[in-house]
Symmetry: C2
Subunit: 273 residues, 2 copies
């Protein structure tokens, strides 16, 4: 049985998608077709959206589910006429918050469009550029500026985690790959010494590491089980000996790895929303 869900917004639709998908995830037995309609910021566009919803509902013979985060009341009223269950987040929750805060909320179409002048936007761009410029230990001269420096063996998940922390939290994350030479004497590399407090280690199950490396360089020494077991053994000893906090990335999504690192280090998010 396949059902249809619409995500409708006067902005990018990302809030409606995030919320909607986390609700739909609670219905494991149902497969959903998902349609996002962003930038519905005029009555004309709203009427077109309603047409699209109604024709889908007629085609399916089922009511569709609609997640909407439209702020403007006139536009929202039009969407409410569509043939489906309308999950209207703002209407449901703004009134009680207004009461608790004793302040009226601002209703305006396209508020989010002013995003580029906000400190958020600049912070995110800065953080992403920082992650790219300080990827893979290419250079260490900007480490003083870093909020965190991820260390770990090749392919343990450092780069995607750095980028996610930059995108989602505005955190400046550098990363440095630990090589066999670094691990030989069970000490952190000299160039990392001054930044010891910023180091956070990643580790990973050796079998999983071998599988990932094999996709990259099949049947190499680099991807062999023996080599992976050896490197992970050494790197975990190094973390323990040097008192570097670390986390296993096995069976964790990038979101989860990033959020756990934030929680463990006490780093604060620099982006709001």
């Amino acid at each position: 049985m396949k059902r249809t869900a619409f995500f409708i917004s006067d902005g990018t639709g990302i809030t409606a998608e995030t919320l909607g998908n986390s609700l739909l995830a609670q219905f494991e037995s149902i497969e959903f077709e998902r349609v996002t309609l962003p930038y519905v910021d005029s009555t004309e566009k709203a009427l077109k959206a309603v047409e699209r919803i109604n024709s889908k509902a007629a085609e399916k013979g089922h009511p569709v589910i609609i997640f909407d985060t439209i702020v403007n009341k006139d536009i929202r009223k039009i969407i409410d006429q569509a043939n489906g269950l309308n999950i209207d987040i703002f209407t449901a929750f703004l009134a009680p918050i207004e009461k608790a805060l004793e302040v009226e909320s601002s209703y305006s179409v396209g508020k989010s469009h002013s995003a580029t002048t906000s400190p958020n936007y600049l912070h995110r761009i800065d953080a992403v550029n920082f992650a790219l410029d300080n990827d893979d230990g290419a250079r260490t001269r900007h480490y003083a500026e870093a909020d965190i420096i991820l260390v770990g063996v090749s392919r343990s998940g450092k780069t995607p985690t750095c980028l996610y922390m930059a995108m989602q939290f505005g955190i400046k994350a550098a990363n440095y790959p630990l090589t066999e030479e670094d691990m030989m004497d069970l000490r952190i590399p000299k160039s990392l010494e001054p930044f010891r407090q910023k180091l956070f280690g990643l580790t990973i199950d050796p079998d999983r590491l071998a599988a990932i490396r094999n996709e990259r360089r099949a049947n190499s020494r680099y991807a062999s089980l023996k080599q992976c077991y050896h490197e992970i053994d050494e790197v975990e000893m190094l973390y323990q000996r040097e008192n570097i906090p670390f986390i296993s990335t096995t069976d964790k999504s990038i979101e989860e790895i990033s959020t756990r690192i934030m929680a463990e280090t006490g780093l604060e998010r620099r982006l709001q929303s």
Copy 2:
């Protein structure tokens, strides 16, 4: 007047943050202190969270706002006891959805932890690696695999947009910087010819471009207003002549640029949630 908002989840807390922040954005006159409590997945952790909320409420003399996306009923009941306004997204919306779908939802703690085996996770990692490997025109031999290829002059926003599309939508986005030579004869480079249908152009206001480039290489020819005006003139002519759809990145957030490109090209999101 500074108020406090808590985001509480048995997972990463990202859904609670996204929803909560989009609601709080409607209260422009109020400054919020934000506290995220992720992985509240046991009654013990829930009791600790309540303690933290209550002591903050006592300190401030205001009720706090709590956004919670906890699925487990027992844990949620504990959070409900805290001294604040509890915006409980799942309780409010799951019941009507269950009715519309005529199916019960699954209640389980930490559902989201199985994220790594989902196609979502693998898709995202793949897409991020693709964006990194095919950044800045370094090589074009994987372009057949790309969902989209962004083109534009240096510093017009190609790389962050590619990474965002990979992270958020699981889209494989390559990017290719158009140089002065490429633009001289008002034709797209030969290596891009076979992929004409996948090209999407970025442009930007020349003054803004000059400001961005000046941060990188102050007082260079590269960053001069004259040079920026010239390049943007040429690149927009090229887009028009070659019928390449394009968008201006000026005054737009990365989310907005990415969502608009998705809408204009009709590309479908490959990630659910």
